[in-house]
Symmetry: C2
Amino acid sequence: MSLDSRYNTIAKAIDANTSKFIDRLREAVAIQSISADPGHRQDVIKMIDWASKKLQSLGATTETVPLGKQTLPDGKTIGLPPVLLATLGNDPQKKTLLVYGHLDVQPARKEDGWDTEPFQLVEKSGKLYGRGATDDKGPIMGWINAIETFQSCKIAIPVNIKFCLEGMEENGSIGLEEALKARKDTWLSDVDFTCISDNYWLGATKPCITYGLRGLSYFSIEVSACKQDLHSGGFGGSIYEPLADVMWMLAQLADSDGTILIDGIHDLVAKVTVEERKLYDSIDFDQEAFKRTIGAKKLSRSSKSEILMNLWRYPSLSIHGVEGAFDGQGPKTIIPAKVTGKFSLRLVPNMDGETVEKLVLSYLDRLWEKRGSPNAYRAYQNYTGRYWLTDFKHPHYQCGARAIKRVFGVAPDYTREGCSIPITLTFEELTGKNVMLLPIGAGDDMAHSQNEKLNVKNYIMGTKMLAAYLLELGSL
Amino acid sequence: MSLDSRYNTIAKAIDANTSKFIDRLREAVAIQSISADPGHRQDVIKMIDWASKKLQSLGATTETVPLGKQTLPDGKTIGLPPVLLATLGNDPQKKTLLVYGHLDVQPARKEDGWDTEPFQLVEKSGKLYGRGATDDKGPIMGWINAIETFQSCKIAIPVNIKFCLEGMEENGSIGLEEALKARKDTWLSDVDFTCISDNYWLGATKPCITYGLRGLSYFSIEVSACKQDLHSGGFGGSIYEPLADVMWMLAQLADSDGTILIDGIHDLVAKVTVEERKLYDSIDFDQEAFKRTIGAKKLSRSSKSEILMNLWRYPSLSIHGVEGAFDGQGPKTIIPAKVTGKFSLRLVPNMDGETVEKLVLSYLDRLWEKRGSPNAYRAYQNYTGRYWLTDFKHPHYQCGARAIKRVFGVAPDYTREGCSIPITLTFEELTGKNVMLLPIGAGDDMAHSQNEKLNVKNYIMGTKMLAAYLLELGSL
């Protein structure tokens, strides 16, 4: 059968199974696999088990690799979820594709401002709302759907497929790199390409393939003054207040427009070349639509290329919040006893994580000294993950481009991303082979935020795209 | 019967009923009457009903006065809890005492760091732990216990007693002042003294009577950039981040040691007189014990009188927290879309609330202009309550002092308080009569904080003190 007719058979079967595939995603979203919250660690493990059984039912052999323990900021330890490795097919005549994805999700509570329960998948106007719908359970279900359809259509999958599915991506992928390094010469040795579907189109309509990601370094500033929170009437005026200390520190990390104030950071950033600058001109990016989607009055930069560069190739710094302070509605007159301010930097070429850690911590230490507070202070890096940049002219990328052309009828944009999937670089280094990011979700999916969603259209056409990509790999 | 023998009979009966009185407080603590949380408004109303029935069973006539509606920051309205007015006795031969207290409590959740469930009263090592145990349900139970004991001992209560018990004290006593003003020439017209037991001893062992309180002005700074929270990878670098704006504002309100930076605030504060300075010298206050109790490394001032003045007669500013930012454990990489920073000032003579509001808001507006952020900004005062200062040489205070001497065997310290009970001044103005604060709780009770408690000893001896005070009033 020609590639065309095989694809047409598969695409028809995918359409026919739309509601079954949505139910599959519903099941996955219902498991509250929040990796940042130690209270949900068992749910992450449950989610790994769930995916393991699904892959087994497709005929894969699976292995769950224990990753040891995680040390929490308070010094306690907690078991890490294992990483799931699965192998489907071992035909020496075929090339081998490695698929990476993550089964854990960001925290979510209805009271954060969701319109629906975050862990119940809700279909509304062609959109599937739920935590993890697009990041990253939807794309993983896409792979499972595509493989199942090959099998039900009795069409041979033209490559061997290996899956590496983890449960700590939203919490620094702790332990994963070591587990992969240990398998460099065994499980990883025959991998020919790696494909990751864990990012997003630039806008809401045009597909893209992504060849670069920012890294991430996450920091905490912990200040405590006393044993427990104090009544601000009974004690206000008598102590050095820790929340004031932390706010004073956090206020001096970046300017209003986001310019980072930490000494030495800008010197690490690669200079823009003439060739690179040209790439931005051809990208299909509507900054007015971007502004409308997020509902901002004004963006931090005025031109399309400046905004894209700020998102893709310059570092950014965001303050995320304060643990330990009053965060409820209405007034509460408390002096918080111990607070932890949290912020992170997105890293770009050539920001080395260790150097960033040193620069940030020494900047914080100097600020603290200047503050002159008698309170207990500790600043630390929670975790760091590397940026990644590769060659998008590789034949592997052309398989992705042909799959997109077949399903969506357009040539993709080649993009970079502001987000971080630090393990991407690890795969590239350990396999020595090309890695491609092939997103399914749209730019307005609101990963990490309230009302995260995946369009039904993206889910189903994305499943077809993955199937078409598998067919293309067979013709390489 | 002499005052001595009446007191002895009552004191014996109070001792005999200790466990019954603790059960009464347990019942009251179990009602989650959190006035700051609109979700608990019905519990506040339930608590008012509960107290109404208790006072009726003592023979009081009760009235619940509707106070209308509260407008929340988001523009929605919600019904206010009514204020409970009760009258016990109307003998024209007797003087009339007005007792004020509040039945609402501060927010509390076990995960804030409580050792026990905040709304279950737990007795441990002579202490009764629970939200509201000392602030202010314990003292109100003290009055009920004392009156019940007079009645069970068949000893006439030597004064008529009126109760004014509200459900919004921890949220600005909204509506109460108007309701009281409307009753100036009716229900309040025959009041001869007002007694309030809603504050604390200075330390943990020596009783005091309090003749001054700070006021309170509570402020919010609301900044929003976009429709919903954003992934800091996908959007970091493209927008002006609201949390950075709010932190930058909050960081410029006070110095590390608490010195307020808002222009004009210090000019409002009454100068310390030579006579006033002497008062501080004789107060029994151990600043080392104070420091140990709260567990602070260093206090904001070095001498006893400076600390007391900072707590009693100088304003203080505390930042309480940020609503809308990430406040959970671990890392979350979000750019919060809309955040509300919260802080408050404690007011002292002669800080007029309206002037403070103007100075604070104009300072914030100037800061905002300097910031130059394109985000939506709104600063507002949530509520304000006045400071209070009265003459502690009044005969009414001597009744309190004699009651303390009788129960505890010592003469009280005369103190001021950093806390705020803004309605105190209203009672003084509307009745034209002396108001006294007669605390039951100890200085380490941790009102508003985790593990709030009331010592069993303070509860029971406090009940005796209130009974002795009622007897003393009869001899005036």
